[in-house]
């Protein structure tokens, strides 16, 4: 019944995808490929009559103006493609095939009839390679190296003769051939310790020995045994229960390290015991800030929901969440990042009664994309990771209709072991939904458990436990998933309507741990749940109940629907083509009761499920590292050093990435990622106006600086909070209404045989938390949400690569009137240039020293008592309209900030930096390139200069020069000596060059 349709671009038109593949094959793999043409292949496994096939090929699957289609025949000949090899890459059975799903729907619309779920359309892409010098092994290497990912795809290769003889590729339907599924097995835990450890490892449970013992002891309890016997359950846990516990107790879900008891040796002989970093530093910081705010407190819901919520205006609240999706992105960069962005979209969707999504942010940490060293096994080249991740976010964000407004990219060789992919989403929640506060929710006993969205397959099984481990040989391939932005968009559109009609009482997303987490968590609201896995819609047969329970198949939300609203809820879903299934009910039984049809397959008391986890006890020992002090004379002329710094990967322009993101959909864009006279200067922060008939705005900014972790994570974390806050202030934010999110990505801080410096890494984590607490309390910025990812290591054979400890600090805030916002580009010749904040000889961990091959020791320290009055004064000056431009001064120091401000405005700056506030600075390069915190470069029109000076009185602010019509940057050091003189165009070229071509 199945047939093939091949579709190719008409020969007169460019095949952009083929050209792109040819370019990447040549650039990434240095392959001898002259040209590539691509063909879309549809394997249509639908019961249609043969006469309908041509219509489907011409009317549905191809564009008659630009494409040629062929049914059950190769199209290559029809478009005159010259090629030596043909490769066809399709998905492995069971992998999400978004295009195939759309193709089936379009055929249904065309024919006006529906097909059953097991009849599908499968897609593949054919690459016709003009590569006369390549043999079969060479072609296979290209496919494995770039065109396909063996974790999710399969391929066939034909040489030209074989292709011609066989008449192209034959019909092959990648249907999932599973058995019936539905098996449940007891798993005995009556094992010696090494047996328990082996069981945890072999089943990918990622549970420690203590945790395995705690589970075993629970099942030994006589009362538990009695109750189980009454329910017809075996004395041993079922695989359903064990997997559910492993997901719920995973590091990913329970943050065991952040909640551990830690004995911290500060390296000076003092040992302190910290009971939960999370409670001690993060929750406590927020509570202190909120107490200080009193009746001005703008926090509405912190730490308890999928995203943190603060107030916005009388009609709306504002919520924000940032997640990481590192491990999947290491294995499949495109799918990992795509799933990362659509996954974090579901957090605000599932916060309170559900948010409208207003922007995305993305920050990545990669190894050098131009890396040319050896690659350890299983690692992908950083260039491929870079391209895949960027494309994944491009598709995920753009297709969801959410502007991607802010982010950055940071490079370090150690991110070869695991890239970091941070994705965040903000949303607006109505202050009230049908009379209830929009940021609150509660499933009630009797409410139906309704799963909304995609179907369940084997994809994403063990995602939560997998990300709680290092990347190793046995990392499961099923942990990779592919998101589907359009299915999710439909779910989202549907839920917005259902919310406003008051059709549900609680909602959460299905992320890590799938139904086991979403239903398990919502069961806490009502006091229990009874879930029937036998009703869950499956992508294909053959799943066992435990797999249905923990699968992380995407695009799913779990909703608590009162029984009286169920009919309305389900019929609205059907009309909007969203699958919604009643899977049981919330109860107040005190247990998570799991059935498969009539049979009970799991029964977990909520108290044990959520609180039975033993607290980890860990040791941390801090020892200050000592790096060689750089010893080189200060160059007389620093122009070359400045030009070099502008071209360093961490500093250079990321415009080639950002242009690929829709950053202004929804119509409220105010401060874009790129600003200035030619729209190519780097913004410090983003501002959007989410309510189009209002001038109220939302600001977001970030700080990230893993380089400083090599010296002291306390100052690393302090620097990123300070930088995020300053970035926001630069565009016109106020400290009066700003909230923070912390995202920790660490290398494994649990010491062990294979992780000998675990205690040091844990001490680094303690210190970062101390700084986070100190800074947030001092600046009055409450933490409202966050996340940690603790196992960012690669371990295969003897090779261990650990990432540098990294904190991404993101801020979100309210701006009363966006018309007061400011950008970083200098505006007019004659404007006065001010430097705010004191420069000190703090080059430790700086870009300047890194460029010279040093780390050093004197890392920038954040002096909150100096900074706070300055920040408040600057905030007022911006609000009073006194500031023409404002740019934060961080990576690369004053010289880089001045250069960026100048070239973004297309004008010059002449400045005498010896006038800048400084303390202990002796060398010109210290003055220009030190990365001391708390500084800004500001320009002010001559008319406002006096008022600005008065506004900043009492702070470390000094006028240092002017904006010039001549587009040249001239910087003078002490004694009036010129140390930098360069045309701004040349500086800009150096800054734009590194990533422009990729």
């Amino acid at each position: 019944m199945a047939f093939r349709v091949e579709v190719a671009t008409r020969p007169a038109l460019r095949d952009a995808r083929g050209e792109g593949a040819a370019r990447e094959l040549r650039e990434f793999l240095h392959a001898g490929v002259t040209a590539v043409r691509t063909v879309d292949v549809y394997t249509v496994d639908l019961a249609v009559d043969p006469p309908e096939r041509t219509g489907i090929a011409r009317e549905v699957l191809s564009d008659p103006v630009t494409q040629v289609a062929a049914v059950d025949a190769p199209v290559a000949g029809a478009v005159g493609a010259a090629f030596d090899w043909a490769v066809e890459v399709g998905y492995l059975p069971g992998v999400t095939d978004n295009v195939g799903r759309t193709a089936k729907e379009a055929v249904e619309m065309f024919l006006g009839r529906s097909f059953p779920h097991d009849q599908r359309v499968y897609t593949a892409v054919q690459y016709l390679l003009e590569a006369p010098g390549l043999d079969r092994d060479g072609v296979e290497a290209l496919v494995a190296g770039l065109l396909a990912n063996g974790l999710i795809q399969r391929w066939r290769v034909l040489d030209r003769d074989g292709f011609d003889r066989a008449g192209g590729f034959g019909l092959e339907v990648p249907r999932v051939r599973g058995d019936a599924g539905g098996r449940v097995a007891p798993v005995s835990l009556e094992l010696p310790d090494d047996g328990l450890a082996a069981l945890s490892r072999d089943r990918l449970l990622a549970l420690s020995l203590d945790e395995m013992r705690a589970i075993r002891d629970h099942y030994r309890d006589a009362a538990v045994r009695d109750r189980r016997a009454g329910l017809g359950l075996p004395a041993d846990p079922t695989d359903v229960e064990l997997e559910c516990l492993a997901q719920t107790w995973s590091e990913h879900c329970k943050h065991k390290i952040f909640n551990a008891t830690i004995h911290y040796d500060d390296g000076a002989g003092r040992v302190r015991t910290i009971r939960s970093l999370f409670q001690t530093y993060i929750v406590e910081a927020t509570e202190r800030v909120r107490r200080g705010l009193g009746d001005r407190d703008y926090c509405l819901s912190v730490f308890k929901d999928n995203a943190g919520v603060i107030s916005f205006n009388d009609d709306w609240s504002l919520c924000f969440k940032v997640e990481t999706h590192n491990s999947p992105s290491a294995l499949d960069p495109y799918g990992g990042a795509l799933t990362g962005i659509v996954g974090v979209n579901r957090d605000p969707m599932g916060t309170g009664l559900g948010a409208r999504l207003i922007f995305n942010v993305d920050t990545f940490c990669f190894a050098d994309p131009f890396y040319d060293g050896d690659l350890p096994p299983r690692l992908l080249h950083p260039r491929r990771i870079y391209e895949g991740v960027v494309r994944g976010v491009e598709h995920g964000g753009n297709k969801s209709g959410i502007p991607t407004v802010n982010g950055t990219v940071v490079f370090d060789e150690r991110f070869l072991g695991k890239p970091l992919v941070y994705c965040g989403t903000a949303g607006l929640i109505p202050r009230e939904v049908t009379g209830r506060p929009g940021h609150d929710k509660a499933a009630r006993p009797g409410d139906r458990i309704v799963m909304v969205g995609g179907r369940i397959g084997k994809d994403g099984i063990h995602g939560a436990t997998f990300s709680s481990e290092e990347l190793h040989e046995g990392s499961p391939v099923t942990a990779v998933q592919l998101g589907d932005p359009i299915t999710q968009k439909r779910v989202y559109d549907f839920l917005q309507v259902a919310r406003d009609r008051g059709l549900y009482s609680s909602i959460t997303d299905n992320g890590a741990g799938g139904l086991s987490s979403s239903v398990g968590e919502m069961a806490e609201q009502s006091g229990g749940a009874e879930l029937d896995l036998g009703r869950a819609p499956l992508k294909y047969p053959g799943l066992d109940p435990w797999e249905i329970l923990v699968s992380e198949s995407q695009e799913r939300m779990t909703v608590a629907v009162p029984p009286e609203d169920l009919g309305a809820f389900l019929s609205l879903a059907a009309e909007l083509r969203v699958e919604a299934t009643d899977l049981g009910r919330f109860t107040d039984s005190g247990a998570f009761h799991v059935r498969y049809g009539e049979r009970t397959v799991g029964y977990l008391p909520l108290a044990f499920l959520h609180d039975g986890l033993p607290v980890m006890e860990l040791h941390a020992r801090w020892e200050r590292p000592v790096h060689p002090e750089p010893a080189f004379p200060c160059p007389d002329d620093l122009t070359g050093d400045l030009t070099g710094l502008l071209g360093r990967l961490d500093i250079c322009s990321k415009e080639s990435i950002v242009r690929r993101y829709d950053h202004e959909v929804q119509g409220g864009s105010v401060i874009k990622p790129f600003v200035g006279v030619l729209d190519d200067g780097p913004s410090d922060a983003a501002v959007v106006r989410p309510v189009l008939d209002s001038h109220e705005g939302v600001v977001t900014a970030n700080g990230i600086c893993p380089r400083y972790s090599d010296i002291d994570t306390y100052w690393m974390a302090a620097a990123v909070v300070d930088e995020a806050v300053r970035n926001a202030l630069c565009v016109g934010a106020t400290l009066e209404h700003l909230a923070g999110l912390d995202n920790f990505c660490w290398c494994d801080p649990v010491a062990g045989e294979r992780n000998p410096d675990g205690e040091y890494k844990l001490a680094q984590l303690v210190r970062a938390n101390e700084a986070l607490f100190d800074l947030c309390v001092a600046y009055g910025v409450p933490l409202i949400s966050g996340k940690d990812s603790m196992k960012n290591d690669y371990m295969v054979g003897d090779v261990r690569i650990s990432i540098p400890p990294t904190v991404l600090f993101s801020v979100i805030g309210r701006i009363d009137d966006v018309r007061r916002c400011v950008t970083m580009d200098v505006k007019r010749p004659g404007d006065r240039v001010f430097v705010l904040g004191t420069t000190r000889p703090e080059l430790g961990g700086s870009e300047y020293w890194a460029a010279k091959g040093f780390v050093g020791n004197r890392v920038p320290e954040v002096r909150v008592e100096e900074n706070l009055p300055l920040y408040r004064a600057l905030e007022r000056a911006i609000r009073d309209g006194l500031v023409a431009s404002c740019h934060d001064c961080s990576d690369g120091g004053l010289a880089v900030a001045l250069a960026e401000a100048a070239f973004s405005g297309g004008l010059g700056i002449e400045a005498d930096l010896s006038l800048a506030p400084a303390d202990g600075v002796e060398r010109d390069d210290e003055l220009l390139f030190s990365e001391s915190a708390g500084r800004f470069v500001v320009t002010v029109s001559p008319d406002n200069a006096d008022r600005f000076g008065a506004a900043m009185a009492g702070t470390a602010a000094a006028e240092v020069g002017r904006v010039t019509a001549e587009p040249v940057l001239v910087l003078k050091g002490p004694g009036g000596r010129t140390v930098v003189r360069a045309a701004v165009d040349e500086l800009k070229r150096a800054w734009q060059a590194p990533l422009a071509g990729i």
């Binding site: 952009a16 759309t102 729209d679 106006r689 189009l692 018309r819």
Partner: protein
């Protein structure tokens, strides 16, 4: 004065409906944002509106090519009540009745793939042109200058000479099925907006022409001038602070994109009320 009524049709992947409706309202129309499912169910009728807005987005993910699956839905989908009939009949009648259709980005791609633009032969609904992958091979978000053809019959661009707003697409390169189609479009002045350099001269040079469109075509109208679509997003520039350089230039509060909506509303007031 009775109201000018604008319909913004959403669902299945559209994402610019909010700002599209806002543009209509700023221009003085009443705007309803309606899911396609409501129209197909017969609860909302096209005939009750004067202006049909097809907003940007990714209909069905653009999975079969931009707006391709969406075009199949519009062409073959049925309105179930009060009597079952094809949706396309309502749409054709809407145009024949002298009303206005405005497609932006994905909405424009939809109109072209349906054959409603350029509609050289009023008796045949068949695509004569298409929008394909940008020459860069990438989605791009950047602001573009548009030169307006003052002699185009287009209702929406009346009185305008220039327009500045962003493109945000991966498949915006305009191509025609034949040279004859290109010539007919030019002769009929059916290209109201062309990509231009900063001095307003139509150009093939990247990035001013962001996708390599033939004849710098950024948008098309039908010979009546009442059906209009374009790749760039005028609804992304309704307010001064949308402009990428608003912090350094003196600009009026109202963004340039509003003018298109005002023209549409004025046309309705003069001709349909």
């Amino acid at each position: 004065m009775s109201a000018v009524r604008a319909l913004v049709l959403t669902g299945n992947g559209t994402n610019c409906e909010r700002e599209m409706a806002h543009g209509c309202r700023v221009a003085g129309a009443e705007a309803d944002v309606v899911h396609t499912a409501d129209v197909f169910a017969g609860r909302v009728r096209l005939a009750d509106y004067h202006i049909l807005n097809l907003p940007g987005g990714f209909l069905d993910g653009d999975d079969l090519g931009a707006a391709k699956a969406g075009a199949v839905r519009f062409r073959y989908g049925t309105v179930r009540a009060p009597e079952e009939h094809r949706f396309i009949e309502d749409l054709e009648r809407f145009v024949a009745d002298g009303r206005l259709v405005f497609g932006v980005c994905n909405g424009f791609q939809l109109l072209v793939k349906l054959g409603l633009l350029p509609r050289l032969d009023p008796d045949r609904l068949e695509p004569a042109a298409s929008l394909t992958h940008n020459d860069s091979g990438r989605f791009e978000d950047r602001w573009v200058h548009l030169a307006v053809d003052p002699d185009s019959p287009c209702v929406f661009t009346r009185g305008l000479t220039r327009l500045y707003c962003p493109v945000r697409h991966g498949e915006g390169k305009f191509v025609t099925a034949s040279a004859g189609v290109g010539a007919a479009i030019t002769a009929g002045r059916l290209v109201p907006v062309r990509y231009a350099d900063p001095d307003g001269r139509p150009t093939q040079a990247y990035p001013w022409n962001p996708n390599g469109s033939q004849d710098a075509v950024a948008g098309l109208c039908d010979p009546t001038g009442r059906v209009f679509g374009l790749m760039p997003h005028p609804e992304a520039f309704l307010h001064r602070t949308n402009h990428p350089r608003w912090t350094r230039e003196d600009l009026p509060d109202e963004g340039q994109g509003v003018a298109l909506f005002r023209n549409a509303v004025a046309f309705v007031r003069e001709n349909l009320l």
